[in-house]
């Protein structure tokens, strides 16, 4: 009986206890359900995003650079196929052994090896490391043969920059190299399209037009597993190629110009005098831009850097020289325009025994025996210094400065293309007061008249100056990148109509002149100067007579210049050494400016040979060959221009 009640009791208890436990279970199930609701319904989006972040990984593929061509569509900066090998870290169990095997097969140097280890520190464990950027076909095929033995090695066909004309264009195009932190912060387009190993322009057009050339990177989306191994490609937004760029350069002329400067230090510029298109912009010595694409090696770099002739300097735009006698046409023009002299002004050049004297200071002509009685035309033709001392004295430096600046000296010619371009210097009394805090001396005016003293110009400025004289005195805008909206015939018409416009009163004051407007006051003065330059090249006793073209087709007019690099002492004058007898660094720079063809001018050039001696001996002969080439190419250029318009 007791047992019975006890059992009843126990059953009662267990039922009550079970009920309590059951309630707790229901409560806990509710808790789990609400948790699931919370995860799967309320925060679904959050976890979906997290899941996708888990699953997908993006790889950026480098953009393809736009191609650069010359005016005739010859490719001057190309993309070529290269063979590369990557090591994919997530597929490499033993990094050291893989690298060691690679080293033996493709022959890595210790230098390269340490760079790879350096790179490895910086990248994520599922990324790939670029082991070699540019393998030869032999090594690449050898690698493919042993590929199964090297864990994680990935042979890749890629593209890289290639300059088919290697040395001939480096000063214009520049070169590319791996983007530095500086490049990335400075250029937004680079920042936006940066991928590891991206090549960007370092100097020249490659650098200044990166914006256009660079293109957009592609994105490959992969599904990956938890250890980062790619399972499959989900999507591939293909990288785009940057825009192609056409320059105004004629590769044939450029190559000739570069060849003419072989074994010399110097510059050759050639320009269309109406469109301002730069046809050639040579600078010597030069170097191979292809060496920079993968980072130049120390030996090559030292060779370039330590070369005394300074191959790294683009002498056409960053070399500063006294213009020497090439300034004389401009001095004459200024004096004529201001009505200081008339062409019939006579000055007697009596040789070194009776030099030009001013306040007791003596100024010599280059010609020992003197030129005799000179008129303006003869003085330009034979480059008489005495005559120009006198003209400059009469003119004054400030008026000369206005005209010099007007024709393109003292400011950058291309502005944005080459950051290293120099402004040069056109002195004036005001300038000297402001910068040197000294008064201007008349003696300084006198030597400025023959392009010595403070005045500093770049070869491109001299070419530009000559172009604006040769086109009849109209303002043009030099350029090196072809603009398809540019209409040549329209320009000619505009200049024609500009000619007929009345001349304003204050035309000779310092002022802004718009594109294609007149630079002169009286067109006759321009003609006088150009005619004198004709004489200089095509008549006996002209300084560049020996370099003339007899064929009418190639006839050009020019002006020589010889710029001193050091003061000529009395002793030097007595010795009267030949150029070859003087120490290289003390030899004069040889200059020459010219335009052609004389009857219907179209092109202007400037030639500079550093320490070449006299302009007539060292510079003018180069112009002879160059001008022939330019005139020969003229017809092709016109045909090509028409074709470009029709595209």
């Amino acid at each position: 009986m007791i047992k019975r009640t006890s059992n009843l009791d126990k059953n009662k208890t267990i039922n009550r206890r079970l009920f309590i436990l059951g309630s707790a279970k229901v409560g806990l199930l509710g808790l789990i359900t609400s948790r699931l609701y919370n995860l799967q319904i309320s925060e679904k989006t959050k976890y979906e995003t997290l899941s996708d972040n888990n699953r997908f990984r993006e790889w950026k593929t480098p953009p393809k650079r736009g191609v650069i061509t010359d005016f005739y569509n010859n490719i001057i900066a190309d993309n070529k196929r290269v063979y590369q090998v990557y090591l994919s870290l997530d597929e490499t169990k033993d990094f050291n052994s893989s690298i060691f095997k690679l080293k033996n097969i493709i022959g890595l140097t210790n230098d390269e090896l340490s760079k790879i280890y350096e790179k490895k520190q910086k990248i994520k464990p599922w990324d790939s490391i670029l082991v070699s950027e540019n393998l030869s076909w032999e090594k690449f095929s050898k690698l493919n043969l042993y590929l199964h033995e090297i864990e994680g090695a990935k042979p890749v066909l890629s593209t890289s920059r290639y300059y088919p004309y290697s040395n001939d264009l480096v000063h214009i195009i520049g070169y590319v190299g791996e983007a530095s932190a500086d490049d990335i912060t400075k250029n937004k387009k680079i920042e936006e399209n940066f991928v590891p190993g991206l090549k960007v322009g370092k100097i020249g057009i490659e650098n200044s037009t990166d914006q256009i050339l660079i293109g957009n990177y592609g994105i490959k989306r992969f599904e990956v597993n938890s250890s980062g191994k790619k399972i499959r490609e989900i999507s591939y937004k293909k990288e785009t190629q940057g825009e192609n760029l056409r320059t105004t350069i004629d590769i044939e002329v450029q190559r000739l110009a570069q060849k003419l400067l072989d074994n010399k230090a110097g510059s050759i510029c050639a320009m269309d005098i109406f469109s301002g298109e730069i046809i050639a912009l040579a600078s010597s010595p030069t170097y191979d831009p292809n060496k920079f694409t993968y980072g130049i090696n120390k030996k090559d770099w030292n060779e370039i850097k330590n070369n005394k002739l300074k191959p790294l300097v683009n002498k056409s735009i960053a070399g500063l020289y006294s213009p020497g006698s090439t300034i004389k046409p401009l001095v004459a023009l200024a004096a004529l325009e201001y009505g200081i002299i008339n062409p019939k002004l006579k000055v007697k050049c009596k040789g070194h025994d009776h030099p030009y004297e001013l306040y007791g200071q003596k100024y010599h002509c280059w010609k020992k025996d003197g030129h005799g009685i000179m008129s303006l035309r003869n003085a330009i033709k034979q480059s008489c210094d005495i005559y120009f001392y006198e003209v400059a004295r009469l003119l004054g430096v400030d008026r000369l400065s206005i005209i010099a600046k007007r024709y393109g000296l003292g400011s950058k010619v291309l502005e944005n293309i080459f950051p290293e371009e120099k402004k040069g210097l056109v002195p004036s009394a005001k300038w000297k007061k402001q910068v040197l805090e000294q008064s201007w001396y008349l003696g300084e005016t006198v030597i400025t008249g023959i392009g010595q003293g403070y005045i500093q110009t770049t070869p491109l400025q001299l070419c530009f100056m000559t172009a604006q004289l040769a086109n009849g005195g109209f303002k043009i805008k030099p350029n090196i990148i072809y603009n398809n909206n540019f209409n040549y015939d329209e320009i000619l018409l505009k200049i024609q109509s500009e000619k007929n416009k009345p001349i304003e009163e204050n035309v000779l004051q310092e002022r802004n002149i718009n594109l294609y407007e007149k630079l002169y006051k009286n067109p006759k003065n321009i003609k006088i100067v150009l005619d004198a330059m004709y004489g200089s090249t095509n008549e006996q006793f002209g300084t560049s007579f020996k370099s003339r073209h007899k064929d009418k087709k190639y006839t050009y007019a020019g002006k020589t210049g010889t710029s001193q690099v050091k003061r000529i002492t009395e002793k030097d004058r007595e010795l009267d050494l030949d150029t070859s007898e003087i120490e290289y660094k003390n030899r004069d720079h040889a200059l020459f400016v010219a335009f052609a063809p004389y009857n219907k001018p179209k092109y202007a050039i400037s030639v500079l040979v550093e320490h070449g001696g006299s302009g007539s001996k060292a510079a003018a002969p180069l112009a002879n060959k160059l001008i022939k080439k330019i005139i020969d190419r003229d017809k092709d250029r016109e045909i090509n221009r028409k074709e470009l318009k029709n595209i």
């Binding site: 047992k3 006890s6 059992n7 009791d9 126990k10 059953n11 208890t13 267990i14 206890r17 079970l18 436990l21 059951g22 279970k25 806990l28 199930l29 808790l31 789990i32 359900t33 948790r35 699931l36 609701y37 995860l39 799967q40 319904i41 925060e43 679904k44 959050k46 976890y47 979906e48 997290l50 899941s51 888990n54 699953r55 599904e223 990956v224 597993n225 938890s226 250890s227 399972i231």
Partner: protein
């Protein structure tokens, strides 16, 4: 003695078949089927190693469950302590002859498969406790003599299992035992007191935990503490479940598990995989199946005449609930990751074996519900 023998003789084979709980079998079969598809999905839809093994075990143990169902409940009652001692013996054998894997020694090599004695202990503790309280008068329950015995019976296996180390199973064993003591009617104040003592001694308990166990518990409170280490599992599990959404990503389309972000997807995290592929609705359905199973066992318990059978059924249902709850609460981030399989669903022979044995005793209680047990 005589009455019991007489009692048992009353059952004809037909009677036995008639009293088999077919609904229970259906539920076990359904959950078993879901488990096969889930394991199949962990192998990205390939019928290979895990799926094959799981299927073979499921079929074998399911048949074992049916066969053992016809063992008299009185036999279970009589052999309860033997079962317990057998389990204890195996746990001791583990110490000397155990197979080690990933830093813990839990298994005995049986050549066919590795047996995890702690899993058998989960059932043995329920059976032996049910027998223990079957005998005791309710008035005696609170006497120290009768109070101390079950505590010792519980502490020995728990200690051995913690030492393996296997905190999860130890907690489940302890939890099942406590549930039975509760059901047997021990005064509520003991539970409150021991709860308080446990709380006070918590710092001490934590100090004796293994470093990885400590880190798991710390990580539970802040999974972002170490997202690639200890927090990784729970973060990835939550991502998988959360991204499943209402309807799931679809069968075999769970990216988290397919792409191997999900750790231990065959075993402890099988619910995560299921939930990722079948979403909120699927998960609720699966939980509902488990709830039905538990409810069915309780119902069987009510129909039993003997206190032993009743206590066993209620106890086993509570234990089953505990297993399911701990596992799911763990993978959804409500509890620390302690390592507890989901009954039937998780890959693993011992867990499956113990559940099937447990279920067969339930079935035996049903078939022999009129039987009065005694020794």
């Amino acid at each position: 003695m005589i009455s019991s023998t007489l009692n048992s003789l009353n059952y004809s084979f037909f009677d036995k078949l008639k009293s088999v709980d077919y609904f229970l079998i259906l539920l076990v079969f359904l959950i078993g089927a879901v488990s096969v598809f889930s394991i199949y999905s962990t192998e990205s839809g390939e019928f290979s190693f895990y799926t094959k093994n799981h299927l073979i075990r499921l079929v074998a143990f399911f048949l074992l469950f049916l066969a053992l169902s016809f063992v008299r409940v009185s036999t279970w009652y009589r052999q309860a302590y033997i079962f317990y001692l057998f389990g204890l013996l195996l746990l001791l054998l583990v110490i000397f002859f155990g197979v080690s894997a990933s830093g813990s020694k839990r298994w005995i090599n049986l050549f066919v498969f590795n047996l995890q004695p702690s899993e058998l202990m989960k059932i043995a503790i329920i059976v032996s406790f049910a027998r223990y309280y079957h005998r005791i008068q309710s008035a005696d329950i609170e006497s120290y003599k009768y109070l101390l015995q079950p505590i010792i019976l519980l502490l020995i296996p728990c200690y051995l299992v913690i030492k393996q180390p296997d905190l999860g199973t130890a907690i489940l064993i302890a939890g099942s035992g406590i549930a039975i003591i509760w059901l047997a009617g021990l005064n509520i104040k003991y539970f409150i007191y021991s709860g308080l003592i446990a709380l006070v001694s918590l710092p001490f308990l934590i100090s004796i935990l293994k470093p990885y166990q400590k880190s798991r518990i710390l990580t539970f409170f802040n999974p972002e503490r170490d997202p690639l280490g200890a927090g990784y599992q729970i973060i990835q599990s939550k991502i998988a479940i959360g991204s499943g959404g209402m309807y799931g990503k679809g069968f075999l389309k769970g990216t988290q598990s397919y792409l191997e972000f999900l750790p231990e997807k065959h075993t402890d995290f099988i619910f995560t995989l299921f939930s990722e592929e079948f979403g909120f609705l699927g998960s609720i359905l699966l939980i509902f199946l488990y709830a039905l199973l538990i409810f069915r066992i309780i119902k069987i318990g009510f129909s039993c005449r003997s206190f032993f059978a009743k206590l066993y059924c209620f106890g086993f249902s509570s234990a089953l609930f505990l297993y399911v709850f701990v596992n799911i609460a763990m993978v959804v981030g409500l509890l620390p990751i302690v390592g507890a399989p989901l009954p039937i669903m998780s890959y693993g022979g011992s867990s499956m074996l113990s559940i099937m044995i447990g279920l067969s005793i339930v079935m035996s209680c049903k078939i022999y519900s009129k039987e009065i047990v005694s020794n």
